[in-house]
Point group: C2
Chain length 419, copies 2
């Protein structure tokens, strides 16, 4: 397809999604719940065709790394998990219509601030095919139409999943509410993110290249799901928490190193460096973690010396950089310069230190004496998440169905006019 044909296709998909947004907006929550249950059934019914399509993607993706192939690969069990996830989203409370504020003004007008769907969302993602059904289900739960643009390496799988998802929607006359951009063409993205008035929001989930391309081109609002360069700071008030600090370091680094809420850097207050650095570094090395330290850490543990680049690197791997901080403020300044405002943790017994750290660290999630790995919509009780927003506007941190709504001010009067 040439660029013009791609642009025309994107325009058509976005406009039909926009048309379908209206019936979805006025559809009662119970009907949307029934649609979600029907989508789960349809995914189960389409298992074989989804697995066949996935086989074609895997055949075409011989050059992918083992980790990428694992993210791409579907099994009977994984398709079942996709259907289960849609059923779980169907059981979540419906955010649409909820009154956020309500009062009667002095002039007798009743004022209500009510949740309403945003309209048409564009979700751009990479690799894992289950995002296709997750994103579609979250958008339907929140009354939105969605345009999906998945990674080219999962094109066949995504197409088969969308076919299954759309079947019950078509039966209900809202098939176009889930649009699918069926081209690997990268110009599709730049075309879609400039459709002001047709597409209301783009959520890019992926690597720095995708995030940069969307941010640079977009004229519609963006909520980014970007990198997580998370820090653990071990404070000088550590009496009785030596084991806790070590356990959190190990958990936050090794429990699942490839995710955004794993830590990449550990900062230790200088007053407890001699006591805590060897202890934490040994525990990490025992779990196979490659430790890179500043001069003091290297002197204490004989680790590899960290380069300047290390402090700015999201390893997503069993690697950690460790530095000694002269003070809590110095640690916060390090986090301000090198962090990504995603998730930071302090281990301390001091209320004052915990409050100071929380005030100084401008991150979406701040953990006091618990692992950064808890920064997750499921753990927070928000239900399934469309991702973790690294933006500060609209949604911050884990982003669930409720964050896929906006609100409307509704005023009911009896003829009031303004003096």
């Amino acid at each position: 397809m040439n660029d013009d044909a791609t642009a025309r296709m994107c325009d058509r998909i976005a406009r039909t999604a926009n048309q379908a947004a209206l019936p979805l907006r006025t559809m009662p929550g119970g009907e949307r719940t029934a649609l979600l249950d029907a989508i789960a059934d349809a995914l189960e019914g389409a298992e074989q065709s989804i697995l066949d399509a996935n086989g074609r993607d895997l055949d075409a993706g011989q050059d992918l790394t083992a980790a990428m192939r694992d993210r791409l690969m579907l099994t009977s069990e994984r398709v079942q998990r996709m259907a289960d996830a849609v059923r779980a989203i169907a059981r979540q409370p419906d955010p649409v219509g909820r009154t956020l504020e309500g009062r009667v003004l002095a002039n007798g007008i009743r004022l209500e601030k009510r949740r309403v769907p945003i309209g048409v969302l564009l979700v751009i993602y990479e690799s894992r095919p289950n995002v296709t059904s997750d994103a579609a289900a979250l958008c339907i739960r929140s009354g939105n139409a969605v345009v999906l643009k998945g990674g080219s390496e999962a094109m066949h799988s995504n197409r088969a999943i969308v076919e299954a998802v759309r079947r019950p929607l078509e039966d209900a006359g809202v098939g176009d509410a889930v649009g699918f951009v069926d081209t690997p063409d990268r110009t599709a993205v730049t075309s879609l993110v400039r459709m002001n008035g047709i597409v209301d929001l783009v959520i890019p989930r992926g690597g720095p290249g995708l995030i940069r391309a969307v941010t640079e081109s977009a004229t519609i609002p963006v909520v980014k799901h970007d990198a997580g360069l998370c820090h653990l700071y071990i404070d000088r008030h550590i009496e009785g928490l030596e084991e806790v600090a070590t356990a959190i370091a190990v958990n936050a680094k090794t429990q699942r190193p490839g995710v955004c809420n794993a830590i990449e850097t550990i900062l230790v207050h200088r007053d407890v460096a001699e006591r805590m650095v060897p202890r934490v570094v040994d525990a990490l090395k025992q779990r196979g973690v490659d430790v890179r330290g500043d001069a003091q850490v290297c002197a204490l543990t004989g680790s590899v010396t960290a380069t300047d680049a290390d402090w700015d690197t999201e390893y997503l791997d069993l690697i950690v950089s460790v530095a000694v901080a002269d003070s809590l403020e110095a640690a916060c300044e390090h986090i301000r310069i090198h962090g990504s405002q995603h998730t930071e943790c302090i281990v301390t017994s001091s209320i004052g230190a915990a409050d100071r750290f929380t005030a100084l660290v401008d991150s979406a999630n701040v953990m006091v004496n618990c692992s950064t790995r808890f920064a997750d919509g499921g753990e927070y009780g928000l239900g399934a998440e469309i991702g973790i927003s690294t933006d500060k506007l609209h949604a911050r941190g884990p982003m669930g169905a409720e964050d896929l709504t906006t609100f409307q001010w509704v005023l009911r009067g009896s003829g009031q006019v303004r003096e």
Copy 2:
């Protein structure tokens, strides 16, 4: 100044504002209240120098229209009103630190979602100099640093106001928290709206040219304060509300025609067109309103025929377009095509019609039997507003100090790690 010098100046102002954001973020609300009171005093104290500066702007602005000169002009009374507005903002509740949600998770971790300042805001505006002190005060109330970029026609006035505002801030060591881009150079805007990581949000308030320039160039989040093309729909269920409909039409059109929540178009259900169109049009014409109608309206009232462009025009003047709608749905479709999603009004006695209109109309504010002119932060009890957001994300409709905050998830545990 050449473009490079402008870019360097913007970079310096934004970076110093970013540095000043940190002490402001951790400053207790009471200290920020005291700063606001001191700013109000400083404005009063600087009255003469502000009026002198304003005189220079008025001298330079001989070519401005009478309306623009009126918006630009300051008097002793208007400077007093600016100081009073800052004192009113000082009395508003402090949004920072408020807990939006809080609970204990099953694993014993205490979860809190707390309001925190956004960081550094960029406010771009035109004409009226009082926006300078209003915007600065709202940002300080919400714990944010701000970079102000006013219109070139008010440059001397804005400079004098900023000088007064900054004096108490400098005494408190946070003078750079109110940055001022002291150049009429338009490239300053394109430079500032690309400072990701330094500036967190841009709020453009102004004409379509400014909004387009910001939307096209920005890589940082934007909350637009764009046009209001607002509609009044008079439903067929109008028994007993004939006078209400007429009074709302007159109030929404004529009470202050130059503002964004005034109506530009009236739609009347065909079943009541013969009864209501002449009545409403006569009342408007009596107030000097120029009425432009579709074929049926012209036949009923002998008005001027509206052109296609009329339905898409925000007159901001004593002009109104009037059309007959075949149904409530047709009226909503007209609003969908021609409206700006700002504020719409229905006059009806029917609960069903009111609910259907509210569901179908995707606007920030929906009025049932009361004037569109109530779409205002002061009327809603939100305190002073930085403007009216025409975006759907983060803030929608009247935008006050609370909307100038984001939130942070704070988790406090006792050593929990994730299994």
